[in-house]
Amino acid sequence: MQQLEYFAPGNLGEALDILSRGGVRPVAGGTDFYPGLPAGGPRESVLDLTRIAGLHGITRQDKGWRIGAATRWSDVVRADLPPGFDGLRAAAREVGSIQIQNAGTVAGNLVNASPAADGVPPLLTLGAEVEIASAQGRRVVPLDRFITGVREVDLAPGEMVVALHLPEPPEGARGAFSKLGSRAYLVISIVMVAVVIGRDGAGRIDHARVAVGACSPVARRLPALEAALLGTRGDVAVTAEHLAPLSPIDDVRGSGAYRLEAVGELIGRAVRGACDG
């Protein structure tokens, strides 16, 4: 058996070099790596991403915000962000537990590509784009195209996520996030809903983003509902047509039919909450 190595490079160039040679598994918070570890331990060397300069933190940029790939969820909780990010911050507080939030990273949540990833719906409502780097160069992919299926992402060998880029939400827009589970904490969602709602001076919705997780292989935005919300005060009845992008399954947490019913209710509450606030 080959000798496994533990790499903990301090800069991105070195990390991408190691990655380009293959046979390594990038690890940051370890919160998905260890639960998925096969019996007998890792088969690949480990590339620890947590010591790479520039991969941490949330910074304001010309056209919006940058979240470094290795930014931990607890950093998101503590960050000083406009109300449009309230949904993302609320989701951050519900990623596992404080222990998980202190270790797990934003990019890790995306790359793990669970249908129930807490971070994905709010990031979809914020129009997140994923910056990917390899030894060959960089590219940027919208989040809704980056996650391609259950446990599937658009990453080629040698590539890694280095940051998320989010446009500035409209002035005054408010985000909200709601996660439904069978217990109070430490729960994998039955469904979850994220919204960002902006309103004009008359209180009518002029910006609507609605995304739903755990109801389809990849969390989805609901464009028809977003369109229907525009110009209203939020009192829109959620219809089956609005929920057409969703394809919830029956599993141990709940039936597909229940999921659709609950999504409609939660969206209504989240939108009303964002409008009343």
Binding site: G29, G40, I100, A103, G254
Partner: protein, 903 residues
């Protein structure tokens, strides 16, 4: 390469090594507990640069340059943490203690930032740590610094709410659980398990495999020196240590591999040479009972393991004449014990004897089993219980013990094993799933007129404690009520599922769900208040039970129900006020009762308690009743100290080491306070008599123990008993006693008539909850729990039992369902978290029992029996829907509400 509790440490972990492993195995920090290795339970929480993280999810290399703090270091160095330790003790916030390090470390991180946190802050901060014993409320109280529940009491006799005598080790990280006792160089055992519920298998070239892998030994059925079977009930010892040719459930053991730690770190069981031929399996009871179903055991036709039966009066005629009859089929699923400590232990061979150190509820039963499995005389086996990180019934059965003993004997070296969480969940016992068809009649005045119970219980692949469930349920399915006309039958059905065994209540909690739900329906149809309906039917002194047993005293159910009345009235009024609004949340209030017979059903279950006095004045209590967190170490000592007449603080406790401590029976059936407590009372009285006799003092004399001598004061006179003048025996005791107690019972006849138990305990719970009518989510708001304990030996520990039992009952009602192959971890199998547990008001009722020590009754299982039905009744109160399948998940409740027209 990092700092651990203030000192520089250097380790060279392998790639993939978790920080938790490096801390425990390389740096000796075994105060860091591992419960799941998946970030689901939080027991391994440590602070890394002051932030709480799960050490099981952090590569050890990632700690380089960091400051790592664990419970032991925090308590030793930081006043905030040592204060918190005192508060945990004062609240009884540590029961078994396995989650305590994770809880306390998380709390220290919070308290450093927020010295006076709100309850919400405490919950947010501690939510990542699961506890299965306490129900969390006392932990919240401790972190918030609320007034302690414990009292300072110099004597600490029965009735005093003293702190646990063994609590200090639990709050300082010093407690040693099953995985904490092995030397670091012990060989590691890994069990090879079936991935299929039913399959034939053939083992391949084991010698070649062992050589290729570099392991020390491989164990299979052919290595079992004695009988390759274990079990708990005579006549039902049917589970192989290693399967022979065929497996009957997913997770069944077929072999074990024993190797050095470094070799086993990269061992992959998938490489093990075994060929499977998958066979048809049955998972549900209907399938198992169908014609042509595969048979699990040739001598158990139709996959029926056995049944239990109780009949009294004429149920058919009574139901015929009843004014109203309520009827329903109720179903419950597998419930996993989910103690935070996976099964673990260590064994070694010393002078030709095998010594097994493991977590357990029943050290002497473990020894009995090992004697059979090893084909070895009992004198050559020593079982030493470690601290047990929760049991709740499942650690009554052996798990790791046979593997440890066989491996130690085969290799001649120290060996250890710790189950992975998934392995623990796959292979150890569960609460029986049930399907219960129940009919109950009542006359126009609301008196029960006939109760018929027909229950099937999925006992899985092997018997374990299934026969006990089959026998207990018919005795208890009436609830604590006067039911003159009664017929109850229960059967255990084999399936290709993990064995169902003992879990707090032995089937009685399931039966109570059906009976108590139908009671509400009857009350409503008769227009009688639901609490009043129960009062009208409650058992009383002098009224026969369904077994025809009549208790002249100690029947406390009426007092329990009566104690709930103020809350019942005020909470119902409050609910009516809330429900007059038009929000999506409706409030419900539910009540339910329960009873439970303490000790074995019509079978002997003696306990023996031994004590001795050393020449230096030490009084040693050999306390063999396994303390799995419930508090036997404290309660038994309090009873003994009371009987002897010395302060409890004067006792030195010795645990259940089978070499030195006699059999106090198993920690099950709510029997330790009652049965071992009586043995302790007798032992205390005997030692007292011996001491008084030596100085010829009267019965009222006061014993004042000192070093080397006891003073015995009688009126104005003082006798001095010089202990150094007495001849010590081989154990160094100058005086010794050993006393036994076995509860008086009488066998049940063919109709289940007789005296199954010498005492019952009684309980009634009230639950207040909110239902989100549009989402189907249920949020308990408050519990009031009245328990007749006969005599409260330690009120603080009683509260702890009640709160913890309610948490488990709540889990069973609302979220817990073990599905073999699907929920074999602690994120798909959900147990309540700190945020799920509302306040509990415990009302202690003391109707003294004629047989209990100082009138005391058992409690451990009673605490869970009324909880689930009280929740179901509150849900029905809020929604009008009677839920007949547990758990009541939001999806199921919404579906039922849709059927009922509430959509």
């Amino acid at each position: 390469m990092f700092r651990l509790n203030g000192r520089d440490v250097r380790v060279e972990p392998r790639v993939g090594e978790r920080l938790s492993e490096a801390l425990r195995e390389r740096l000796g920090a075994r105060d860091v507990k591992v419960g799941c290795n998946a970030g689901d339970c939080g027991a391994c929480t440590v602070l890394v640069d002051r932030a709480p993280v799960c050490a099981c999810l952090m590569p050890a290399q990632q700690a380089a340059g960091c400051e790592v703090e664990t419970l032991a270091g925090l308590v030793a160095h930081e006043p905030l943490a040592s204060d918190l330790a005192r508060r945990f003790e004062g609240q009884g916030a540590a029961q078994c203690g396995i989650c305590t390090p994770g809880m306390m470390v998380s709390a220290v991180a919070l308290l450093r930032e927020a010295p006076a946190p709100s309850e919400g802050q405490v919950m947010d901060a501690l939510a990542g740590v699961l506890c299965r014993c306490t129900g969390y409320r006392k932990i919240v109280d401790a972190v918030m610094g609320r007034a302690p529940g414990a009292v300072a009491d110099a004597e600490g006799h029965t009735g005093a709410a003293i702190e646990k005598l063994d609590g200090r080790a639990k709050v300082t990280g010093k407690e040693r659980f099953g995985d904490d006792v092995a030397p670091v160089d012990a060989l590691i055992i890994k069990v090879i398990r079936s991935p299929h519920p039913h399959a034939r298998f053939t083992l391949g070239d084991l010698e070649g495999f062992a050589a290729r892998e570099g392991v020390e030994a491989i164990l299979t059925a052919s290595d079992v020196p004695g009988v390759n079977l274990f079990g708990t009930i005579p006549g039902f010892v049917d589970q192989p240590v290693f399967a022979e040719g065929v497996v009957r459930f997913r997770g069944e053991a077929v072999a074990a591999v024993v190797g050095r730690a470094d070799v086993m770190a990269s061992f992959d069981p998938a490489r093990f040479p075994v060929e499977w031929e998958v066979l048809p399996d049955v998972q549900g009871m209907a399938d198992a009972m169908a014609d042509g179903a595969p048979q699990l055991h040739p001598d158990r036709a139709g996959n029926v393991m056995c049944g239990g039966f109780v009949a009294h009066g004429d149920v058919g005629a009574a139901l015929e004449r009843a004014a109203v009859v309520a009827e329903g089929v109720f179903e419950t699923g597998f419930v996993e014990h989910a103690y935070i400590e996976p099964e673990a232990g260590f064994a070694q061979v010393v002078d030709g004897r095998v010594e097994v150190y493991a977590c357990t509820q029943a050290p002497v039963m473990d020894l009995d089993t090992l004697s059979e499995v090893l084909g070895m005389e009992r004198a050559r086996i020593r079982v030493v219980p470690t601290a047990t990180g929760g049991g709740f019934g499942s650690k009554l059965d052996v798990s790791v013990q046979p593997y440890l003993a066989i491996a130690a004997l085969k290799t001649g070296q120290p060996v250890r094993i710790t189950y992975e969480r998934g392995e623990s969940m796959q292979s150890t016992t569960k609460r029986h799933p049930s399907r219960m068809h129940v009919r109950i009649g009542a006359d126009a005045e609301g008196r029960i007129s006939g109760l018929r119970f027909d229950g099937l219980f999925n006992t899985g692949a092997y018997a374990s404690w299934g026969p006990t469930v089959a026998n207990r349920v018919p005795v208890h399915a009436s609830g604590p009520y006067a039911v003159g006309d009664y017929r109850a039958e229960a059967q255990g059905i084999h399936t290709h599922c993990p064995p169902s065994g003992a879990f707090r209540g032995f089937g009685v909690p399931q039966a109570a769900v059906a009976q108590e739900s139908l009671f509400d329906e009857l009350a409503d149809r008769l227009g009688i208040d639901r609490l009043e309906f129960r009062m009208r039917n409650a058992l009383a002194n002098g009224v026969p039970t369904v077994c025809g047993q009549v208790f002249a005293q100690g029947v406390g159910i009426r007092a329990c129900l009566e104690a709930l009345r103020p809350a019942w009235e005020s909470e119902r009024a409050e609910a009516a006020r809330i429900n007059a609004g038009d929000g999506p949340v409706r409030r419900g209030v539910g009540v339910a009762a329960g009873w439970y017979g303490c000790g074995n059903t019509s079978l002997p279950n003696p306990s023996t308690i031994k004590a001795g006095v050393r020449a230096d004045g030490r009084i040693v209590l050999h306390q063999g009743a396994a303390d799995i967190g419930q508090g036997a170490n404290t309660v038994i000592a309090q009873i003994f100290a009371t009987a002897l007449g010395v302060p409890v603080s004067r006792l030195d406790l010795v645990g259940g080491d089978t070499d030195v401590t006699p059999d106090a029976g198993k920690t099950s059936a709510s029997r330790q306070t009652f049965v071992s407590g009586n043995a302790a009372r007798l032992a205390g009285e005997a030692l007292r008599a011996q001491i008084l006799q030596r100085v010829n003092a009267g019965e009222e004399a006061l014993i004042v123990p000192g070093a080397d001598a006891f003073e015995i004061r009688e009126g104005a006179g003082v006798h001095r008993l010089d202990l150094t003048a007495l001849e010590p025996d081989a154990e160094g005791y100058v005086m010794r006693v050993a006393e036994s107690y076995d509860p008086p019972t009488r066998p049940l006849d063919e109709n289940g008539q007789g005296h199954p138990y010498a005492q019952f305990g009684y309980a009634a719970h009230l639950c207040v909850l909110d239902v989100d009518m549009r989402l189907g989510t249920v949020r308990p708001v408050r519990f009031v729990a009245a328990h007749d304990v006969g005599h409260a030996v330690n009120p603080l520990l009683i509260e702890g039992q009640v709160e913890g039992g309610i948490a488990q009952g709540m889990g069973m009602a609302l979220m817990e369902e073990y599905l073999p192959g699907r929920t074999e971890n602690l994120h798909d199998y959900l147990i309540p978290t700190i945020g799920d547990m509302p306040p509990v008001e415990t009302l202690i009722i003391e109707e003294p029992d004629a047989h209990g020590p100082y009138g005391a009754k058992g409690l451990g299982e009673h605490v869970l029996i009324p909880t689930a039905p009280a929740i179901l009744n509150a849900i029905r109160d809020a929604t009008g829907v009677q839920m007949r399948r547990l758990p009541v998940t939001p999806a199921r409740l919404r579906a039922a509400m849709g059927v009922a027209g509430h959509a």
